[in-house]
Amino acid sequence: MNPSLNPDRFSWNRIGALCHYYGPRLRKQMIIYFCVSLIASIITLIPAPGAFQVALFTMSQTALQLMYYMAPVVLAKNGDTRIVDRLVPATSLEKFLFLTCYFIPVTGGLTLLLPLISTKVYMMIPAVQTADLVDLLNIRANTSWPIQLTNIMGGISCVLTCLYVVVRSHSNRTLKGVLSVFGVEIAIGILGAIWGMSTAFMEGFHDGYSGVCPNNLSALSREETNQIMHDAITGMTQSDGFLIAVNMIIGGYMLLMFILNYRVQKKMSV
């Protein structure tokens, strides 16, 4: 394969060559991510006392998500390689496509697919149908698609921000990449808080909690508690205007990060 063939047009051959070029740097990460993902999947299937199992599951999920968001930090591992990376004779589009494909679907699949499958398997085991974790998984599974879309776009935004910061930064690239993920997470959190508060104030506090004293929550039956949690989450989505606005903001930011990541390949900032 000679990547110099077809020198000025888009070339899949060159993307293949980019895989070889970046491969040694990414191979180790792929192995580690797969192993951690496997361990997290096994943790999900281990029977444990209710609250402990939920805590363990939540922690492993959070860890996996953070690993996914911060995956681009691997590019900072060998020090400042920006010049040699930028000089590689491939178009900006080819480099952009390779990096975004690796860090979004490939790393995402590698990190989150196995735990997703394991939870589906877990939910099918008849013996565990009374477990707290099943309730949590059921609530997650029943979350409406606009909310899931918000989550997916938020996650992709984190990855793209981290990638942009790592590729663009001159120094402390790892630290800046990590901080950028927390920055986006906090921003999305603030947006969610505004959304929740606005919904509550405009639509009224009637999504399951009305008439229930928080101290008495423990006295509620399992079905009642689940219904309250489900209503609290889905209640927010009933406010279409806010949901559309939030999705537009996060979607717009994600699109902006796609453009910036392409431009950073095109315009050097050494």
Binding site: M1, P3, S4, G79, T81, V84, L87, A90
Partner: protein, 282 residues
């Protein structure tokens, strides 16, 4: 490869002082010295030539093409090695195996030869190499890349005396006349005999661009026993005076002393030196 710089101006902040202004030059194939004091704009100029930065104004063309054009065919024609640049990969051999596939003219034979000359095998872990050894490994590789244009920014920094001598020898051997090598360095003496021309920057502006032939046909570099009223620039020594004098029609040309020329261009004699180079021989 021919490099053409047309009224290049570059500013990092847009409003701040320009890092380069009014740089116009034509650089023909050969080995060229890029000299200037710290902050003169040498690295910025190398970045522009490498296509890593676009000039704020003006045009940079390499064999008539824009190096910042995002065309792999043109990007593959050049390589830049900067000071403290890192190459990814466990060893230089690993890196070469992945990276060289983009450069069809890469010579594995030259690469191994260069490594041997620097006393390396290529399988040394990069993380364990000293800065100087890492530089030797990088130089071994990029000299074998076969790119028609090679840009080296302070290549001798961190190299030991033997390493510098090896580098000079390898450049002399492997840079063919049709290739262009631009060396930005403060260790001018190291490559003294190799330079075919020079580009001298001072405070973001181009002071001189000239070929060895142009300089040696106008100026003579001598060691004088007695003072010479005609001397344009002098440097007192223990056993005489190093001087730059105009070369007269009957005079035997001397070898260009690039280090002394650079010093002269950064002294009050600058105007006289430039006048002598640019005006016709008496």
């Amino acid at each position: 490869m021919d490099i053409e710089l047309k009224d290049i101006e570059f500013s990092y902040t847009g409003k701040g002082a320009p890092a380069l202004q009014g740089v116009t030059a034509r650089i023909a194939p050969g080995i060229h010295l890029l000299a200037g004091e710290n902050g003169a704009g040498k690295t910025t100029l190398l970045h522009i030539i490498a296509g890593l930065r676009r000039p704020t104004r003006g045009l940079c063309l390499i064999d008539g093409a824009d190096p910042a054009s995002d065309r792999p065919g043109e990007m593959g024609q050049l390589f830049l090695l900067e000071e403290n640049q890192e190459f990814p990969g466990k060893t230089i051999m690993d890196f070469a195996a992945q990276h060289s596939r983009f450069y069809p003219k890469f010579s594995q034979t030259d690469f191994l030869y260069n490594l041997g000359e620097f006393g390396l095998t290529g399988n040394e872990p990069m993380k364990k190499l000293s800065v100087g050894m890492k530089k030797k490994a990088q130089l071994s590789y990029i000299l074998a890349l076969g790119t028609p244009l090679l840009l080296l920014d302070e290549p001798t920094n961190a190299l030991d005396i033997e390493g510098r001598e090896t580098l000079r020898r390898l450049i002399g051997m492997q840079i063919q006349p049709d290739r262009t090598l631009l060396i930005s360095t403060h260790s001018i003496e190291q490559f003294e005999s190799l330079f075919d021309g020079c580009i001298v920057l001072e405070r973001s502006k181009l002071v001189l661009t000239a070929t060895e032939e142009e300089v040696s046909s106008r100026l003579a570099f001598r060691n004088l026993r007695e003072s010479d009223a005609e001397a344009l620039y002098t440097e007192p020594q223990i056993n005489g005076t190093l001087a730059i004098t105009p070369l007269h029609r009957d005079d035997e040309p001397t070898r260009t002393d690039w280090r002394m020329l650079y010093s002269a261009l950064h002294s009050p004699a600058q105007a006289r030196i430039l006048e002598s180079i640019t005006t016709k021989r008496p």
